[in-house]
Symmetry: C2
Subunit: 334 residues, 2 copies
Amino acid sequence: MAETTALTDVTALVRQELDEVAHIVHAALEPESPELRGLLDHAGRFRGKQLRPALVLLAAKAVGEVTPAHLTIAAVVEMLHAATLVHDDILDGAGLRRGLPTIHAVSGAEVAVLLGDYLYAKAFHMAVALGDPRCSRVLSETVRVICQGEMTQMVHRFDADLSEAQYFEIIRDKTAVLYGASSRLGAAYAGADEDVAARFQVFGDQLGLAFQIVDDILDVDGDEAVVGKSLGTDFGKGKLTLPFLWMLDQAGAEERRRFVELYARHATGDVSPIDTADQRRLLEGFDLQGGVRYAHERADECLRTAVESLAGLPSNPAVDALRSMADYVLHRQR
Amino acid sequence: MAETTALTDVTALVRQELDEVAHIVHAALEPESPELRGLLDHAGRFRGKQLRPALVLLAAKAVGEVTPAHLTIAAVVEMLHAATLVHDDILDGAGLRRGLPTIHAVSGAEVAVLLGDYLYAKAFHMAVALGDPRCSRVLSETVRVICQGEMTQMVHRFDADLSEAQYFEIIRDKTAVLYGASSRLGAAYAGADEDVAARFQVFGDQLGLAFQIVDDILDVDGDEAVVGKSLGTDFGKGKLTLPFLWMLDQAGAEERRRFVELYARHATGDVSPIDTADQRRLLEGFDLQGGVRYAHERADECLRTAVESLAGLPSNPAVDALRSMADYVLHRQR
């Protein structure tokens, strides 16, 4: 594997702006009444990789200058991302503990629903306050598409007939559109014309696709200590990601039939993910590692398309940073 | 009790427009891919009293004319309301069945989270598409305030020291602001100047306060067959509404102490609401019916303030309909 690009190197050029963005997000979560501080601090504690805001800012610098509007857009994008994560968490622990609801766990779910909604509403309000409607138009549509992607994924849970095209549609909707929107808005608000803005959208879309494919690879193949969560959670919950789809595609008809029958059985069982021993039995005789290699190649392709989309642009440090972001996405270990 | 005003009479003047609004909502939930039809139909089935869209349309007719923008605003308001209901449902049954999660119940919660998010995003997108930013500015802030109200209510669950002022703050945030916004936007988009728009906001705010107080009264005092849900669910879940707050305020120190001690104990218990026998024991010796009468008087006051806010306006059928809406809100049995 190639030497990894550190995230800090990728974002160094916009480090100061990213701190300002974090400050804007923090200020946006300042409660009107002190009794809500505890709840809202919970949302404010979130600080992820800041890839999406970095994309807004680097796209801006690649084309022109970072303006105050860019800082707002970057904060809005990060808050929308945080809202999706908060809502994702509802099933992944907050609502259920050891399979049983406790009053704490149920409050947890209720808190998560409201926190996510609060983040969405506040983020939209900030977007609207920009005046220029491009940002709120693009981002409200983006959130709709994210929900659409999550719903489609839900509909296909435990569906071993999911096609690769359907998988790509799902990850485009649930993940890539927000990258695409971040990249496009960064460029557009820096004065890019429609042709250049469209190139930046392609860059973000393809980067987002690769990011999700690598995420899905790490879920089956990551070093648990590095990724910080147990392995194979997607598979256990009925989400068949690219490595599994390739693996099933390569398998013989008989093996595939056995898999489909056993896997689908879990769809009607209880809510706890398939346990490790059962997972191992299910995957016996399949070439999952081949699937991982295949998925890695597809992610690499997406990133090559991403980098090519910027080919016509005059080189500058921000364009270089965007290229190294692509490298980071492919080789990240967590 | 005065003769009740029928909802159909109140909304007769905008019946045709309300049907158009329902059509817009329906079209907005048309899925891009047919496999999501089942999920989105679930949201589209919702058809409530249409009080908020009726308020948008009647405010418009009271001031001037209903324009295409009004139909969009009315649809957006109804979709935002539906989104809050879908998310409210997460704890009221979808997430838990008989206290235990089943895969169906958990899917239910996940579906509800995504459906609500989808409704919010789609509604904001429609608001932004109006061009004129007043609607998206007001409604994004409104949704933030609704979440704030719901959070504050959550923080005060099982809190017998909740003051009447705090109760009013909670119901203003979680319920009244959307009525106020609906009424203001209806008037503003029909050409009302700021003074008139502000009067309509007061009308909606006060109508919304009264609506919630009556809702809270019906929860303890309604005919179960009419209201269509079991009685006292708020109380059982730790929400002390106005009748209870008055009741506690009137009680002797000793009785109050006993209540606080017993009630607070439920805060740490399991998630199922306090059962009926326990509720009866808790309320022994208190004058809850006095609280109901008091709450009814307060709702009546709000509605008088609402009607007074329209006093300066030239009379017309829409203004009359708004007045009868106030009457409907006070006397409704469900």
